[in-house]
Symmetry: C2
């Protein structure tokens, strides 16, 4: 055997511009979070690492507003956390209702199909959300063991109303799974008070952290469902029975009921967790604690309202009409705003202008919204008055440069 | 709904010791790799990010010594890369041969079971490897479409001999999947010359990088197998047909044959990839290029031989007898050495002594080797003469402190 130089490309320095990321994520990392990425590597059985794990789990309970014991970070993108829910909570032929009115709610549906679910897909126009009546009707019709929805839909900028949804699901003996990727840590969300059974987010949205690590929480009811599966989870990497033996071995749900052992059994290695990302996530959560979630939510709301006013001054409109500042109602998602592209304006050219002239990234629409909207994210650290000021002023230039004068 | 302060733990600074990580991984990050973790975040559709992706893929071809077009990093631990192979290359009822003689080869088997494979598990004593005769016998008996093995078994310190294995598999119309997690970038390995169809490693071993990002390569034959599946991959996050549309859309194998499109179609978003980890991986690979893989291999071999001599001076012995410096033969794995714990010595106390007094981490045995061996990793950046000197000297103290005098 002989060594080959064939793919030995010339070494070069990585050329990265410094962007202000005001799209649907990733957002800019908070400097303190960024710094923690380089904290010293230690082994996955080091007692000091166990402390970091325990602290991170407790901080995530604050983020989720839950007492759920099973609250762990998944070693992958938000999509991996989504798949953790789907693969663990669904057995072949289980009845599932998927509420679909956007790109990511449809992704849940596509995943659930792969795990052999018997699915009632309730399609609704992109940009809308579901009423309690519509949800109850689906529960009555299909009698599912799991209902899935997206709370903050990144593709449409819509917030699903949550008040009463959990009660309704439980009334019909159904678990409730909620995608919170674009919203958690930016918009009020209450896992326990809203009786949500499975919920997750990603590091790179409202947490101002790196992508690749994704907080997830399961209620005891969700854990029991998994503990009483007839078939093993068809996904080894994301099997929460195995993950639980590493993250929270004192919380045993492998035997069909939830038992807390004291003293806890030894942690059991599953995979090498991404320590650097966990250090960063921990710091993201400490920033939330320092500021206070209630203040964080207020800051996101203020930035969003400043954005709406700025858009209006440019003659632009958010795509979602209903504002609904109340946390219980559906409507606009404060962390991600879809903006209608005015007729005659080339949305891509405006985005290119912002990027080329001001290093500001906003995104275009995807799926059914391609070409129809811009997507503006004001998430985490980035949700502040200066960024909105800058964006509106830069948008004004970009619109003029593209022949649009309001 | 009301906000709760319940899990708002007191903020505190993370307490991390600075360890010399001489276990089975994670290894210490090279300082240049560590630094790249904090390079500026950009969007996953940014042209500058596409350049980073393309460079990383080409650098990985150098690492794997392959021309394989489909050579991408998986967004997860080495176990996620393992599952990418298993979930994509196996359909329900496919015949598979799993060669098992250690913890990680058994993990492949456990995963394959979950994907409904019809498996011939060829068990051999831990610490041994497989001969061509044994492999041919399994191929003849079971007529599998996939054979799986581990090249560098972290649990036993054994290197599987590779010469002729690929030819044999292909003679029987079978694909060859090889786990290289503990070896790649430290020990000679030749994907193309050895005719390996699927291969992967992790960032945190011989690449001196962070865990959570895992290089993977598929041969054209593997891609064709996936393109002609009768059922979708039962794993959305790790579906290489979808991942390929983002990483290498010009390389289309979705229609049953491998076609290179020119000009390439647009990249299609799949999930938000862990940019910080990809920056770091790119730097790990550039370090390999700068030093030259042949020199890197020689450095790992020299460190291992220095370790063997040092162990001998302490009256200790590597568990694996056969040395076999030739890259084609099985025997000791230079990057990871299992050391027999002498009778009467408490292996855990020695490890604790090294950790408490010198901040040096080595590991104990797992599975069938629990309590029988220590595991010493000299991987990547850590494979250097100073570390071996220090370890042997510290081991000498640790042994004396535990009543062992050779």
């Amino acid at each position: 055997m002989s060594y080959s130089d064939k793919h030995k490309i010339k070494t070069c320095t990585m050329q990265l511009p410094v962007r202000l990321l005001l799209g649907p994520g990733p957002s800019n990392l908070h400097p303190r979070v960024n710094q923690q990425l380089t904290s010293s590597m230690i082994g996955y059985t080091d007692a000091n690492y166990y402390t970091v794990m325990d602290e991170t789990m407790e901080l995530m309970r604050y983020l989720f507003q839950t007492d759920n014991h099973f609250t762990i970070p998944i070693s992958g993108a938000g999509t991996a956390a989504m798949e953790t829910c789907v693969s663990n909570l669904i057995e072949p032929n289980d009845k599932v209702v998927c509420l679909v009115s956007g790109f990511f709610s449809d992704r849940i549906y596509q995943m659930a199909v792969r795990y052999g679910a018997n699915i009632l897909k309730v399609d609704k126009q992109w940009g809308s959300w579901f009423s309690l009546e519509e949800i109850e009707s689906a529960l009555q019709t299909h009698k599912p063991s799991l209902l899935t929805l997206v709370f903050g839909e990144t593709s449409t900028g819509v917030k699903q109303q949550m008040e009463g949804v959990g009660e309704l699901c439980h009334k019909y003996n159904c678990l409730l799974m909620v995608d919170c990727v674009a919203a958690l840590g930016g918009v009020p969300f209450f896992v326990d008070q809203w009786k949500v059974d499975a919920c997750y987010t990603g590091g790179q949205k409202c947490l101002s952290g790196p992508p690749g690590i994704s907080p997830l929480t399961f209620s005891d009811a969700a854990c029991k469902k998994i503990a009483t599966r007839k078939t093993p989870v068809a996904n080894w990497y994301l099997d929460t029975l195995l993950l639980g033996q590493y993250w929270c071995p004192e919380y045993n749900f492998a035997d069909g009921k939830v038992v807390k052992s004291d003293p806890p059994p030894m942690r059991k290695y599953h995979h090498t967790t991404p320590a650097n990302l966990i250090y960063a996530l921990r710091e993201s959560l400490i920033l939330l604690v320092e500021e206070g979630l209630d203040n964080v939510w207020a800051r996101h709301q203020a930035a969003a309202i400043q954005l709406y006013q700025g858009l209006e001054s440019l003659g632009l409109k958010p795509f979602v009409n209903e504002l609904n500042e109340s946390s219980e109602k559906g409507g606009r998602l404060f962390s991600l705003t879809t903006v209608t592209i005015p007729e005659g304006v080339d949305g891509k050219m405006v985005m290119k202008y912002l990027l080329d002239n001001f290093n500001i990234e906003i995104a275009g629409g995807i799926g059914a919204f391609a070409g129809k909207v811009w997507r503006v994210g004001l998430m985490g650290f980035n949700a502040n008055p200066s960024n909105v000021k800058l964006l509106i002023s830069a948008m004004s230039d970009a619109l003029k440069a593209n022949g649009y004068n309001n």
